[in-house]
């Protein structure tokens, strides 16, 4: 046998289009979106180079490898693993006269003329803003999750004409999610009319009340699609706790209510768990609140570990969306009482309704996608990290803290 000739034989190594990959200086990662298998390669330059070639666009997930390369123990092992986890395959050039191709798993959003329906599904209305001495220390929570906007000045109300024009603009849209917040919702001057307007169009309303403001009488404004979310902050005054017990007792529908526990440290976390058990609460969630002094709490409770990331197991579409969009923000806007509109409250306002319409502002964001397309791939240090498409979309915490990697991963 002519061994020289044999060594010239070419194979093609291919990666399947349901597999995504990333490389950093000394690491590579492949992720199979079907069986959620992750293959991590560290410090093996030969294999990292192969993966990097496979991921180069112009190679389209298929690269030629010689029989010699194929026989290198490391390559052999790598290909065996790829095949074992159904991530790709090896093809002989003898089967065809040309390199096979892959359709790249690269999402494309086709250009379409702007439509509000495609770009909006959630609005957050801060119907008022102002001081609330009982929760004033939570002023920065507004930037981290849905929380009333607390200021030290006088209370400021959103003009009802803003809501009227909004509802007119959104006529005909399928039901939107409308979050209503404010440090004193129940004292909004035209509350009856406000609810009447917002409950049009099959909208889903979520009213966010701080615990101490809980008002059993207020639910009379609700319809089937209006839900209450209670923001539980610490310390809890005993009279507020009693009020809550009474409320739960008197309110048949409380099981549809959501309880959001806002916690700053392990103690508050523990207390929350006790309350949940004691009252038998069902729809609960926790929002860690960064107050400037509790980074260590964040490190233990918010920062992702490698196993958190690997356990998230996104599917193909989730991964694809992370190349282009921020699912936390896309299609959502926030309006403040002064008429300013935000795609994300941590970013500059898109504009003010005194000057333009909300449709125009949404259109602007849909074109620039300054907030709606905040993806890890575009930000330090995540863009150098092999987990960038496995990690959840950038959150408000990260934007507020100006730290995009709330994780325990050392980028290699």
């Amino acid at each position: 046998m002519l061994s020289g000739k044999k060594n010239k034989k070419v194979y093609y190594l291919s990666l399947d289009p349901y597999v995504h990959g990333a490389i950093s200086d000394s690491q590579a990662l492949l992720y199979n979106t079907l069986n959620k298998k992750v293959l991590t390669i560290r410090n093996d330059i030969g294999i990292i180079t192969i993966i990097s070639r496979l991921l180069q666009r112009e190679n389209g997930g298929v690269i030629p490898v010689t029989e010699e390369e194929l026989n290198l123990p490391a390559t052999k092992k790598f290909i065996k693993e790829i095949r074992h986890h159904f991530m790709g395959d090896i093809f002989s050039s003898e089967w065809s006269g040309i390199k096979p191709i892959n359709i790249l798993p690269q999402p494309i959003i086709k250009f379409a003329p702007f439509s509000l329906k495609d770009n909006l599904h959630e609005i957050t209305l801060h119907i008022n803003e102002g001081p609330d001495p009982l929760i004033q220390s939570y002023q920065n929570a507004f930037y981290q999750f849905l929380f009333p906007k607390l200021t030290t000045g006088k209370i400021r109300e959103m003009d009802l004409t803003i809501v009227r024009s909004l509802i007119k603009e959104f006529e005909g849209l399928p039901g939107l999610i409308i979050n209503i917040l404010g440090p004193s919702i129940s004292s909004y001057p035209q509350i009856v009319e406000l609810f009447k307007l917002l409950q049009k169009n099959r909208n889903h309303l979520k009213i966010f009340f701080p615990l101490h403001q809980i008002d059993p009488d207020f639910t009379r404004h609700f319809n089937q699609k209006t839900k209450l979310s209670l923001l539980v902050t610490y310390p809890i005054r005993s009279e507020d706790f009693q009020k809550l017990i009474l409320f739960l007792h008197e309110n048949k529908d409380w099981k549809t209510m959501e309880f959001i526990f806002i916690v700053r440290d392990p103690d508050e976390f523990e207390q929350s768990q006790k309350i949940i058990a004691q009252l038998g609460l069902e729809r609960v969630s926790f929002k860690p609140f960064f107050n400037g002094h509790n980074l260590s709490f964040f490190k233990t409770h918010v920062f992702m570990t490698e196993s958190d990331i690997l356990n998230s197991k996104p599917d193909q579409k989730q991964v694809l969306s992370r190349y282009l969009l921020n699912d936390n923000d896309f299609g959502k806007i926030t309006l403040l009482p002064d008429g300013s509109v935000y795609a994300n409250v941590n970013d500059p306002a898109l504009g003010n309704l005194e000057e333009t319409t909300v449709t125009d502002l949404i259109k602007r964001e849909s074109e620039t996608r300054a907030s709606w397309s905040r993806i890890r791939m575009n930000h330090e240090p995540c863009k150098h990290c092999v987990y960038h498409f496995l990690c959840p979309p950038v959150s408000n915490y990260e934007i507020f803290l100006k730290k995009f990697n709330l994780c325990h991963i050392e980028i290699a």
């Binding site: 040309i98 959003i109 770009n119």
Partner: protein, 504 residues
């Protein structure tokens, strides 16, 4: 029902297309073998245990493979099966019906009204649909009656939804410029009577013979002009004057006149329409218009429907024999890009079948598959009456569009009265849809159809669709496109980068 299919490219690579996943997959040759083996009732496990160990097994036409490899590919096949690559998605529901209300609504938002300005023409092209090669009636000389045209415009504009301000008015022929007084009167009628409530855009398709005479009027009202020209002198030789002399020099002279005297208007508003046949080719035509006018023409093939059987052979000999093949050259595809039919089709396939092109960000973020829904559709891609345009023939016939035979009339202008009966139109259309539905239900293109029911010999009651694709032809369709991509991957990359962006 659309099933998973496997296909092989010209050079021999194997792929599969899974409609359930809406995804293409490059696959090892054993995968299609196992898939088809099982589909034909074979028991893969029984077969594998029946073949001797350590043997090399011949799987024609896929090749020779060791048993260990077959075993591995069985695992992969099962893996793909578990992840739904071989599921059949629900059948597309083509049972929708057209309602008279929809037609009434369409009239209020129609985009284009086309007048057959005159039946008469000052050319006598060899391939004209009124030539001996087609079964059409003799060309008449009728001109559109001006009061009737005004009546019809009043009828449409009085019903018009005020949110749809802009209406396109088109002048078609024969040669529309042979009835210039009509054009002038209609334009002035609209400009003085209906502005600013509505705004109008005008266009016409002309053979160019009278262009010089009316250029000032046409440019004043910013007419979009499409000049029919098939390329250089040789390429244009089927387009002839009444005395059978070639029309080329006359048309070129007038076109050059327009370019020289109205340069800005020419740049913005003038385009060309070219018919492809055996005396020209995409590439030549492209070069001619690029170099002479800096424009890219709209090209279409010669009309092959309604050919007179008596002259079918002569038709083929005259127009189709020896058609140039240079159009498939890679350079040419890059040059023409999306205007090239092959490139357009690849883009279309990627959009509809790759699973990676989304209609909106919301669709990308939505969970689950985006392709199949429970909605019911109308079969074929026929434009619904008045949804886009209407064609008003000089003899008073109202037709869905200018390409459709008179037998499919949807109304009349008679005794100065516009007669449109939405119930009758809906009944007729639903009848045509009923007839084509069984064919469309079997067609692999049903959810991506581009064909109009009126091109399917529907009047015979036994429709035939040139674009119908069964499983085999659908696989062949993909195979051709993948063969092109295998040869020219940069073309594919350019398509995904540029084809789906906003057209500038």
């Amino acid at each position: 029902m659309k099933k998973t299919l496997t296909f092989k490219t010209l050079r021999g690579n194997n792929y599969l297309y899974s409609p359930a996943k809406n995804q293409f997959l490059l696959c090892h040759p054993i995968i299609p073998f196992l898939f088809l083996f099982e589909r034909n009732g074979g028991d893969i496990d029984a077969w594998i245990s029946s073949v001797q160990k350590n043997k090399i097994i011949d799987l024609p036409p896929y090749g020779l493979f060791p048993l260990t490899e077959i075993r591995h590919q069985r695992k992969k096949y099962r893996f793909l099966k578990k992840h739904h690559y071989f599921d059949s998605p629900p059948e597309i529901n083509l049972n929708s019906k057209l309602s008279p209300e929809r037609i009434i609504d369409n009239i209020t938002t129609i985009k284009q009204v086309i007048f057959e300005t005159t039946e008469d023409c000052n050319l006598s092209c060899t391939y004209c649909t009124y030539s001996k090669f087609y079964i059409n009636k003799q060309r008449g000389k009728k001109k559109f009656n001006i009061p009737d045209a005004k009546k019809t415009l009043e009828y449409i504009l009085n019903k018009r939804n005020p949110d749809h301000k802009e209406l396109m008015i088109s002048f078609y022929g024969g040669e529309p410029l042979k009835n210039f007084p009509f054009i002038k009167e209609i334009v002035e009628f609209l400009e003085s009577g209906y502005k600013p409530t509505f705004s109008f855009k005008y266009n016409l398709t002309t053979n160019g013979l009278l262009l010089n005479r009316y250029a000032s009027f046409l440019s004043k009202y910013s007419f979009d002009i499409s000049i029919s020209l098939d390329g250089d002198e040789k390429a244009n030789s089927f387009r002839r004057l009444k005395n059978d002399k070639p029309s080329f020099t006359h048309v070129i002279r007038n076109t050059d006149y327009l370019k020289a005297n109205y340069p800005e208007y020419f740049d913005e508003k003038v385009s060309f329409i070219t018919v492809l046949h055996n005396k020209n080719s995409q590439a030549e035509v492209h070069r001619f218009f690029q170099s002479r006018y800096g424009k890219v023409p709209m090209v279409s093939g010669i009309n092959t429907s309604n050919v007179n059987e008596q002259f079918r052979e002569e038709f083929k000999q005259t127009f189709l024999s020896g058609i140039s093949r240079d159009d498939q050259a890679p350079d040419h595809m890059h040059e023409m890009f999306l205007r090239h039919p092959v490139v357009r089709e690849i883009a279309d396939t990627l959009e509809k079948y790759s699973g990676f092109v989304y209609r909106s960000p919301r669709q990308l973020l939505a969970r689950g598959s985006h392709r199949f829904d429970a909605k019911s559709y109308l079969p074929s891609a026929t434009c619904l009456p008045f949804s886009i345009r209407v064609f008003l023939a000089a003899d008073g016939s109202i037709l869905p569009c200018e390409h459709i035979s008179r037998i499919f009339e949807i109304g009349q202008i008679k005794n100065h009265e516009v007669i449109i009966d939405p119930d009758a139109i809906a009944r007729d259309f639903n009848h045509y849809f009923e007839k084509i539905r069984p064919l469309c239900e079997r067609c692999y293109r049903a959810d991506n159809c581009k064909e109009c029911v009126f091109n399917t010999r529907i009047e015979t009651g036994d429709p035939f669709c040139e674009y119908f694709l069964d499983e085999t032809s659908f696989a062949r369709y993909f195979s051709q496109q993948f063969s092109t991509i295998e040869l020219d991957y940069p073309l594919y990359l350019r398509i995904i980068d540029d084809a789906f962006r906003e057209e500038k």
